[in-house]
Symmetry: C2
Subunit: 316 residues, 2 copies
């Protein structure tokens, strides 16, 4: 794939991002977050430089120690000379746009290290906007030469599932003693986990949790035949973190990369097209139609068909 | 709004749904789940009959007892002669399409009661498909004369946020003793909760949890000035359930219903338009483009712009 890579003018923003410039990357991230034509043009220029990074998804229940593990992974990768991007996804605060995780991580150990670029993302709109925005951010970090992109998500829900789909490998973090009904959450992550990390493995209950995970794994064979390894970690002391990366690498080697990439891109293209279409409609138009629908003076299906006809006449 | 309601031919599926026919509702639910033109036509017919149901969103951490509370609420509402719809949203199983919650609920107490219609929903695609499909299902139950629709979601993520937006009132269920770092999850739900239920309130730690919630609430004043009530429940014994419904009703009275309905419809119209556009594109087209993008022989931004131009020439 290296042959396809183009030389970008070094003075342009895209050129500076591609050369690894940290400040250019920060500016580009802001543009990408904002979205719209500017973001598209920038990413179009940068796209040939993407496809090199390994994207890790790290998810699991609150309190399992995801941030700590992400930090420990970043430290280890830095030690190997890799440049790292971290995306802390925080879907929790749609109204204030807050970013708990981002703040948490920023306070930690990489402050001042240009080799670790950290960005936190909060919810963006309806319609899976968060997963889409996260995918673009990961692509941008990839274009800037980060060899590893770590995406941390909190909780388990559709956003986790979508983010798992875009990651090359998904690591599910659990910890012993998190209540007796972790069952429901475990069921939720069972199918997206390529690697399990039992963090805080020095606490009581780690063996029990390991047995439970093992039992669940033995029940459901994955379609691709992969048996997710279970690694015990004490991330706060760096224990087991190397093993997590090794397990992830083994999964990465084994996977048919191209086939998965094509599946992911088919979904992303759908999402991008949907979003692009909506850009052609001013918010005012949605508000006006919404008022009529809420008053039951029309119905939403008729409204949407009307818009479809208009678009066919070249409106968008 | 009653004046706008139209008489539907009683022999049609829509007519039978509107008359409250349970079997027609089940058939309609399958059509709505399938989506596409058939679902749109059915919902277009039924739309004038909607707008009467109170939609409750019930969310919270796994193990808090959401299903038990939902069941207890349904029982109480049934006792008041209300017809009830329950939607169990299970975003956990994108691959198998499994529905843990649905199964869990089905096994419980309403089996055989036509007054309670239960449907479980699993993840649908990328792009917030689950929230959109859930909204349609709630609308269908509303059209069939269910006065209360209870939407239960597991975990906390973007899906919860989106579902909270479509519910008239969102009830967040917590329970004492669910691990020491419920903080992160609590932060996540703090802003979507209109009512808090501390379930399993007979367990140790209920007072502590109540104080913690109170402290969090005192920190962040909501824009609308509403102070979410905190209700203690033992849902398994029906304790406090009436108080939850009362708190929800107080919130409902206070809210400016029309304004919120308009905001919700503006978002839903966006989502529906996005989905409708994508229907015009065969999956094959996305796959072909995805292969080219994955090979880096083109970029996704150029591909999407090409589609936009085609649509303007009347393709969709």
């Amino acid at each position: 794939m290296d042959a396809a890579r183009t030389e970008l003018p070094s003075a342009s923003l895209a050129g500076r991002v591609a050369s690894g410039d940290e400040r250019a990357l920060a500016r580009a991230a802001t543009i990408v977050e904002r979205g719209g034509a500017g973001a598209r043009e920038l990413m179009r220029e940068l796209f040939p430089n993407t496809g090199r990074a390994v994207v890790y998804g790290i998810t699991g229940a609150p309190g399992a120690g995801k941030s700590t593990l992400v930090n420990a992974m970043a430290r280890l990768l830095r030690g190997r000379g890799k440049r790292v991007g971290i995306i802390a996804v925080d879907p929790s605060s749609p109204f204030s746009g807050g970013a708990i995780l981002g703040d948490r991580i920023r306070m930690q150990s990489h402050h001042g290290d240009e080799g670790v670029f950290i960005r936190s993302m909060a919810t963006r709109g309806w319609m899976g906007g968060l997963a889409r925005a996260t995918a673009e951010m990961a692509l941008l970090m990839d274009a800037s030469g980060r060899e590893a992109v770590l995406i941390e998500t909190v909780g388990v829900g559709q956003d986790e599932v979508e983010i798992a789909r875009l990651a090359d490998v998904t690591i599910v973090v659990m910890a012993p003693g998190m209540g007796d009904d972790v069952q429901a959450m475990k069921a939720g992550v069972m199918e997206i986990a390529d690697v399990f990390a039992i963090n805080k493995a020095d606490l009581e209950g780690a063996e029990k949790l390991e047995r439970e995970i093992g039992a669940s794994l033995s029940l459901a064979m994955r379609e691709d035949g992969w048996l997710p390894p279970v690694v015990k970690t004490v991330a706060s002391q760096g224990q087991g973190v190397e093993e997590v990366l090794e397990a992830a690498a083994r999964y990465g080697e084994r996977r048919q990369g191209r086939e998965r990439a094509e599946r992911v891109w088919a979904e992303r293209l759908r999402a991008m097209l949907g979003e692009r279409v909506l850009e052609g409609f001013p918010a005012e138009e949605f508000r006006r139609a919404a008022a009529e629908v809420a008053a039951r003076s029309t119905d939403p299906y008729t409204v949407v068909e009307g818009w479809m006809k208009e678009m066919g006449r070249g409106r968008a």
